[in-house]
């Protein structure tokens, strides 16, 4: 029979035979709809409960860990996970990242049940989308898209008394529009916590506006262009840079944040611009977990750090690299503060105001992008990334969009770009096309980057 998440956590902590134990229990519900060619393609309603049991065993040479995750809804299932974790810990070598477990008390909301979503979250959106699909079809436009709403409630309990509950709503919508000949393409996307701020007909109107921009099509060659990146494209690049900011990788000479000759680049000026890249679990609109949740140990996560509070952190401030993603173990290695990864990311530029349109107004001849795609690391040393423009590259002449341009493959480093942009706008919620399905909580400014390296032309349309 099914138990509540709190009962599953307590059952695990009561039955473990190890010296220490942390249980991460996440209860998720997810509703999604997908469509293409103006009609539904797939949908789904998903319910899952996953437990991770981390058992620790003290020994003369250090503390070992056993880490087991599995679907867990019954006391038998959680007991099996605990038994396996206990056995794994008992048979393991001491863990390199071993630290004392976070301690604490039960948070006031610990006893609250998980929050859930259902397919009815789309009760207003689905008919509106039906109307938008009809309107698009009537105007020879074809829509393709996806909406998803996810509610995940995470319970973190430890043998040291900690009981933390966190509710994470995540949602997003992305819609691609094409003309009936499939020669023009545009995209609009946004993240949302509850779908109250998603307007299907407004999205359809914006796609229509962008497809109209493509009435004039201009072929341009590869080259370096004065380029306006909207917030979504800035998010595409900044998220990957953030994921590449492991302190241990930097310290061991494997990343763009390694100091040649040894150590990290913390304290080095990366940008002469007065810009800040930062995370804060309480950032309005993109709130995220206030504690570390680490289902496995990696270079920038440690299972021993589970439940530790995360504080607002400047990764880059005043253009200077201030912090890297740390475990307590890597913080000792690098002699730097423990600044764990946080599940949101923002970039702000001092005194920057205005929107994408304001940046476009200042461009004499250049490009306006929609988003980037298939972004992959080419050289970790410079963090050179390659990728493509997608679903709308627009020609800007004398401050106005005058047509659509072919797509390009780019080769650029986001780290270099931080020192090269010559104009920025106000920071706004930004949903990354490339990574947003996995990292939806970002706020970014639009940037104008001179000499953005469009390495070759892509025929994709």
């Amino acid at each position: 029979m099914s138990l509540t998440p709190q009962r599953l956590v307590e059952h695990a902590l009561d039955t473990t035979r190890s010296d220490g134990c942390v249980v991460l229990l996440s209860a998720s519900t997810n509703a999604n709809l997908r469509w293409a060619n103006n009609t539904l393609t797939t949908n789904g309603m998903i319910q899952r409960t996953t437990a991770t049991v981390i058992a620790t065993k003290d020994g003369a040479e250090g503390t070992a860990a056993g880490v087991i995750s599995g679907s867990a809804t019954s006391s038998d299932q959680i007991a099996e996970l605990v038994e396996a974790a206990d056995a794994a810990a008992a048979g393991a070598e001491p863990a390199e990242d071993a630290q004392s477990l976070a301690s604490g008390d039960a948070a006031p909301d610990w006893a609250e049940p998980p929050e859930r979503t259902s397919i009815q979250v789309f009760d207003e959106f689905a008919p509106a989308l039906g109307e938008a699909l009809g309107r698009a079809g009537g105007a020879n436009r074809v829509l393709y898209g996806y909406v998803e709403h996810d509610m995940t409630t995470t319970y973190v309990g430890s043998s040291t008394g900690l009981r933390v509950r966190h509710v994470q709503p995540s949602g997003h919508v992305g819609v691609t529009g094409k003309d009936s000949e499939r020669t023009r393409s545009a995209w609009v996307g946004q993240a949302t916590r509850d779908f109250s701020d998603v307007d299907a007909l407004a999205i359809e109107s914006e796609l229509a506006r962008r497809l109209d921009w493509a009435a004039r099509q201009v072929e341009l060659p590869a080259g370096r262009y004065d380029t306006v990146l909207p917030p979504t494209a800035v998010a595409d690049l900044m998220i990957y840079m953030y994921w590449s900011a492991s302190a241990r990788d930097a310290f061991e000479g494997r990343s763009v944040f390694s100091r040649p000759g040894g150590g990290t680049k913390v304290g080095t000026t990366l940008s002469s611009r007065r810009m800040r890249l930062w995370s804060d679990p309480a950032m309005p609109g993109i709130e995220c977990s206030p504690v570390v949740v680490a289902p496995r140990s990696t270079s920038e996560l440690s299972v021993f750090d589970n439940g530790l509070p995360v504080a607002p952190t400047n990764w880059i401030e005043g253009g200077v690299l201030r912090s890297l993603l740390q475990t307590r173990h890597s913080a000792e290695l690098t002699s730097l503060p423990h600044t764990p990864a946080i599940d949101n990311l923002a970039m702000t530029v001092d005194d920057a105001t205005g929107s994408v349109d304001d940046l476009v107004a200042g461009v004499r001849r250049g490009l306006l992008l929609t988003c980037l795609w298939y972004i992959r690391e080419v050289d970790p040393q410079t963090l050179l990334m390659t990728g493509l423009t997608r679903d709308g590259v627009y020609l800007v002449e004398d401050g106005e969009v005058t047509g659509a341009v072919n797509n390009f493959r780019f080769n650029e480093s986001p780290v270099d770009m931080l020192d090269r942009f010559d104009e920025a706008g106000a920071t706004v919620p930004a949903f990354s096309r490339e990574w947003g399905d996995y990292f939806p909580r970002t706020a970014m400014p639009p940037l104008r980057v001179p000499g953005f390296n469009m390495s070759s032309v892509s025929q994709a349309s």
Binding site: T42, S71, A84, L133, V378, T386, R409, Q459
Partner: protein
Amino acid sequence: MPSQNRVDATFTDLPLQRLADAALQRTTDFRVQHADFRLERIRSQDITLRDATLEGASDQERLGFAVRVILDGTWGFASTDVLTPDAAVHTAEEAVRVAQVSSPMNSERIALAPEPTYDDAVWVSAYDVDPFGVAMPEKIALLGDWSARLLGADGVDHVSAALQQVQENKFYADSAGTSTIQQRVRLYPVLEAYGTDAASGGFDSMRTLAPPVGRGWEYLTDTGWDWDAELAELPQLLAEKLAAPSVEPGRYDLVVDPSNLWLTIHESIGHATELDRALGYEANYAGTSFATLDNLGSLQYGSPALSVTADRTVEHGLATIGYDDEGTQTQRWDLIRDGVLVGYQVDRRMAPLLGLERSNGCAYADSPSHIPIQRMANVSIEPAEGGPSTEDLIGRVERGIYVVGDKSWSIDMQRYNFQFTGQRFFRIENGRLAGQLRDVAYQATTTDFWGALEATGGPQTWVLGGAFNCGKAQPGQIAPVSHGCPSVLCRDIRILNTASESGR
């Protein structure tokens, strides 16, 4: 080929049929046109070492089931991990409710291609030793020994080692009467050595080429790969790479090793011949395909030397299985014959759109939480019977580059423009290898690249490579897939210098 292994009793002991009956029975109350029930257990274990010391070891298990219905021509899908008959009934009702909420958006009635029914069919992949039966300390000791060998060599500063292992169990039953139970095992060991160049202060790495495979623990001990030989040569290859000159950008003839070419096939042929992409289903996410349906039978995809098959039956293939996730028996068929596009990969919903009487068995879901979609078969290039060795291909090149191992990869949303790097690049001068080059990337348009294919190597050069992590669809799904190929010779391909691309 079915193996001698049996399906794990811990899976067959689950109340598979009882839950299926409860769910499918409930769907009949709503007069659905089709219903299927899929219960899966996916066990995985990941181990990582850093400098021969354990960094992380964890076991995961996903267990749950899904109900998929077609109600009044509209899909409905729901899944849960509560394994009770009540939950099965509830999930069936939920799937119906999802179909009802979705129906205002649906303007195309879903119909499935017919498929014979299979009664209690059982299929297990080919492997000797179940990796989940091997004790963790033994695994860590082996990876630690391999890491130490690299770490002890001159010029190696750091070493990463990783081992991913998966055991996948699927039970499927549908309203037409098919019922299947399957099990397959796969694993992916990888080691990477890092070094620095004292002169420049720059760093680089060299990774093992051993592909992920549908084999058991024997792959790490004595079957399918020579680990001792590969580990022995890695430090020297890294040292040569660090000291190598930077490539002069321009156009070169390329001899591409299977360890690199499998990924180029994956991106520029595998995905481009997925019918759901050609039809636009992935337009908002993974992208579409230039190889649209009107090109079937006429598109000159590459030179006449190019023949490509799709295959879900090849032994040890990562996409190999007995029956797909909507009860279709798996097959092997042509995608490109003598350079011309002749086939696509489809599922039962798409087969009629292509005029096929039957699906070719490409429906796959990566977990019980996800709806099956069309996923890639093992897409492979045929070798030339009696064809040349890799050395013979290199011998035909006056000025070129021999490309080995995959690294960075990227391709556009319609599968035209791609860019790949590799683990190592050797200069070819007058038919002979003449040392490594650095900072190399090759960039081309799909049909130009395959059009420039002059020759494929013989069967002796053919290797089955692949990946665990092919991404597609929303919600995102990951699929494992293999690609076999011979070494090939392509003429006059654009080479970039990645250092100058970054403006340095």
